[in-house]
């Protein structure tokens, strides 16, 4: 699946895969201060576990943010395990290598709890993330 590249000031609108996506792009409202910069958003699925990891990896690789700022919405995450969190660490590394940093628009309590318990909250930039209740809680 090839994701659509964001153009001009238009917000990224990444195509949803035909199969059940574990992750998809969602328009993320930008704050006025950040308006000039290109931004692309991803909303994590409710389940980010080893079982979903292969799909998750495929989707993350398929999505190309280009030079846009990477915004993640983790508000829907209900289940996450070490494999899921490690995937996010690898994703963060992928963009930090390009000089980009991941930002969270929201993180569910489950996502925060898991990342803190594994000592990964800082690496994922989740300590600064605004909390957002997952639908399951």
């Amino acid at each position: 699946m090839k994701a659509a590249r964001p153009r001009g000031r238009k917000r990224a609108s990444l195509a949803k895969p035909a199969a059940k996506p574990v992750l998809h792009a969602a328009p993320v409202p930008a704050s006025p201060a950040e308006q000039p910069k290109l931004r692309a958003g991803l909303k994590l699925e409710a389940s980010c576990t080893l079982r979903d990891a292969m799909d998750m990896q495929f989707q993350l690789l398929a999505v190309d943010f280009g030079d846009s700022q990477v915004l993640l919405d983790g508000s829907a995450v209900e289940h996450i395990d070490t494999a899921g969190l490690q995937m996010l660490v690898a994703f963060a590394k992928h963009y930090s290598a390009r000089g980009q940093r991941m930002q969270w628009t929201a993180a569910s309590p489950e996502l925060l709890r898991g990342s803190r318990l594994l000592g990964l909250a800082d690496a994922l930039g989740l300590e600064e993330a605004p909390t957002g209740a997952s639908s399951g809680h």
Partner: protein
């Protein structure tokens, strides 16, 4: 309440198909239950030590962890309550009482039943488990409310019944002076996540023990494209401030044993008191104080890091192949005799070496199948405890020789006969307390289970110091049932033998423990099916000793090769007493007993093997051929044969599997020259003598 057990899919927190590990869980849970039961049997008022309670706790915890991981929530919930109760015992806040021990043992039964039902996807009635669980919860709640009102030292006063059963005090959890800081190094090995072990769950459990600080090192996590999601590249350094012992920490990682590198070491107290913050994940890690390679380094020799589980079918396949090699080698050896000269000698020398190597290989494979008989004996302490308490008897069970090894198949099949014999000893053997006191015996009866090697066989002995067999009553019963002629005079041994007849029971009162028709005849038949023998000795008022002789293995036998006419037969060497040539006139013909001859003051029946198998012998005269004295079931007879050919170890091929069961034939084998030879079942042949048939009324 009845629930249909379903093997549920694991919860979403677990990422992969875990069904493939269910069998491993069932096996390990079963082992944990055995360990739990054995420890609980040692536990009792006045005999409670913290190590025993810890062992029980560890077993319960291990089951809980596994059950939780696989989504078997009912077992996990039940063991969770059990674990809470055990934790109270462990901390010395509750005391061990006899009813509590009974309850704990019942909980083992419940978990076992739950696992059994789960394994077979059967419906399980949880009423008893729920009742037990409620009882435990009530006990815990009562203890907690009592603990709030009283000082810890006054606990025993709150339970007068338990005053004598005070356990050695274990430091209460609230004792801050016992708090230590543990430094834990954890690195996942490639299979960790794939086996359903999630560090997230483990760390959550760790946090339950105290204050936890986690530092993750993600430098080894590869780029997204190169990442294997199931391979965890993060390593952790954790600090845990807790009052829990090291064993509690290690217990959390128990299921990950072999799939992680773990170091748990105490930190210096001053370091422990330092406030610690969550460290940045990607900072340079300080060098670990010890190598991480020692997986559960502190664990003793009991750890099985060097062992693997192998399906028994694989071993059997290997054994079968080795058996075929033995036959092929034997054929080659015979062929080699046709070669002369230097080359022939070299060939034979090489084949001799090959034979030696194959023999070693065969023994090695056989050893893999050997298990200590203790695995069967281990069920008896519980059995004797439960039965004796139900019957109001005081019985001590002594077990020895539990390290004696026996073939796995033999071991599996000997369990039920042994249970029957031990039950008989408890129910009929050991007298009631009053009867023992009246007879001037000790109040407490003793049952002794022993196993040892003897020759090429294993002897298992069940002896008791009970009332012994009442031969008079046995004889009367046998006569009343028409099993024995009213005028027949029987030796003590023959009377003892009567109890092995089908349907024979002298129990005046049929209890639910014994006397239900599954009698000693079934026991003997089962043991005979294994190629074994049962012998019984009993003294009235002194006790009974039953000796079971079993072959080390069912796969090979040391045999004496004999010939009758053109046929070759194998006689198991253990049954052969000696061979002789009879002097003319040594054989007499006795009515109802057929042909007999005198052998060392005893008249032995003659079995003409050519008649049994319908072959033409070299000579039909008993004075021309050889008389082989054989023994089985405590009886002897003379086998009339043509010649002795030699001794050799043969691989047994089952007749039953390949053809049908034949009385007098224990199996078959393939000889070196490629022909098939029957292996004689001597006890079966002895049952064919006229005297034996008259005894059994057939």
């Amino acid at each position: 309440m009845r629930w249909a057990w379903k093997k549920r899919r694991p919860g979403p927190a677990v990422g992969i198909e875990l069904e493939q590990f269910h069998e491993v869980f069932f096996e390990e849970a079963s082992e944990a239950l055995d360990a739990m039961e054995n420890s609980l049997l040692k536990l009792g008022p006045g005999a409670a030590d913290s190590e025993t309670i810890n062992t029980v706790f560890r077993a319960a915890h291990s089951i809980k962890g596994g059950a939780g991981m696989f989504g078997f929530n009912d077992i996990a919930g039940f063991t969770h309550t059990l674990e809470t109760l055990l934790d109270e015992l462990r901390a010395g806040r509750m005391l061990v009482t006899a009813p509590l021990c009974d309850g704990l043992l019942q909980s083992v039964d419940q978990i076992r039943s739950m696992l059994g039902a789960l394994q077979k996807s059967q419906v399980f009635d949880t009423t008893a488990a729920e009742a037990l669980r409620s009882g435990f919860e009530r006990l815990i709640a009562e203890q907690k409310s009592a603990g709030q009102k009283k000082a810890p030292g006054a606990a025993s006063a709150a339970a007068p019944k338990t005053a004598a059963a005070a356990m050695p005090a274990v430091a209460p959890a609230s004792n801050d002076s016992e708090r230590r800081c543990w430094k834990i190094g954890f690195r996942a090995l490639p299979e960790l996540l794939n086996r359903g072990n999630d560090p997230l769950r483990m760390f959550a459990e760790l946090r339950g023990l105290g204050e936890l600080t986690v530092r993750a090192d993600c430098t080894a996590v590869p780029e997204l494209a190169a990442l294997d999601p199931a391979c965890c590249g993060i390593t952790w350094q954790l600090e845990l401030l807790t009052d829990a012992p090291r064993s509690s920490i290690e217990l959390i990682f128990e299921w990950a044993e072999g799939d992680c590198e773990l170091v748990v070491e105490p930190q210096k107290p001053e370091r422990a008191q330092q406030p610690v913050a969550i460290a940045l994940p990607e900072i340079e890690q300080e060098a670990p104080t010890g190598t991480l390679s020692a997986v559960r380094a502190s664990q003793g020799a009991g750890g099985d890091g060097n062992s693997i589980r192998v399906a028994i079918e694989k071993i059997d396949e290997l054994l079968n192949t080795v058996g075929e090699i033995v036959i092929t080698q034997s054929m080659l050896t015979q062929l080699s005799r046709r070669f002369d000269g230097v080359h022939g000698d070299s060939l034979r020398s090489g084949l001799a070496q090959l034979e030696m190597n194959i023999r070693e290989l065969q023994e090695s494979v056989m050893r893999v199948r050997m298990l200590p008989v203790g695995s069967v004996f281990s069920r008896f302490p519980r059995l004797v405890r439960d039965l004796s308490s139900r019957l109001g008897k005081k019985i001590r069970l002594q077990i020895s020789g539990e390290q004696t090894e026996l073939d796995k198949t033999v071991l599996e099949k000997i369990g039920d006969p042994l249970v029957h014999l031990v039950r008989n000893s408890v129910d009929h053997g050991i007298e009631s307390t009053q009867a023992r006191l009246d007879a001037g015996k000790q109040e407490e009866g003793t049952i002794h289970l022993n196993a040892y090697h003897k020759g090429g066989a294993i002897n298992i002995v069940i002896s008791d110091d009970g009332g012994g067999l009442n031969r008079q009553r046995i004889l009367e019963k046998a006569r009343s049932r028409g099993l024995v002629d009213a005028t027949a005079v029987l030796s003590e041994e023959q009377i003892n033998d009567l109890i092995f007849l089908p349907g024979f029971s002298t129990a005046t009162q049929t209890t639910d423990l014994s006397g239900r028709g599954v009698g000693m005849d079934v026991v003997r038949r089962n043991i005979k099916d294994l190629g074994g023998n049962v012998e019984l000795k009993s003294e009235l008022g002194q006790g009974t000793t039953i000796t079971i002789t079993l072959p080390l293995t069912l796969a090979i036998v040391d045999g004496q090769t004999i010939s009758v006419g053109t046929e070759t037969y194998i006689v198991p060497l253990v049954t052969v007493v000696e061979s002789l040539q009879l002097q003319p006139g040594a054989v007499s013909h006795i009515y109802d007993h057929g042909e007999v001859f005198s052998f060392r003051g005893e008249y032995l029946p003659v079995i003409r093997l050519h008649e049994v198998f319908g072959v033409r012998p070299l000579s039909e005269s008993l004075y021309d051929g050889l008389m082989m004295i054989v023994e089985g079931d405590g009886r002897r007879a003379g086998l009339f044969i043509d010649e002795l050919l030699g001794q050799q170890q043969v691989v047994i091929k089952s007749m039953e599997t390949n053809y049908a069961r034949i009385e007098g034939v224990g199996g078959a084998t393939i000889l070196g020259e490629g022909t098939v030879a029957l292996i004689l079942d001597v006890p079966g042949l002895l049952r064919m003598t006229p005297a034996a048939q008259r005894r059994t009324g057939t």
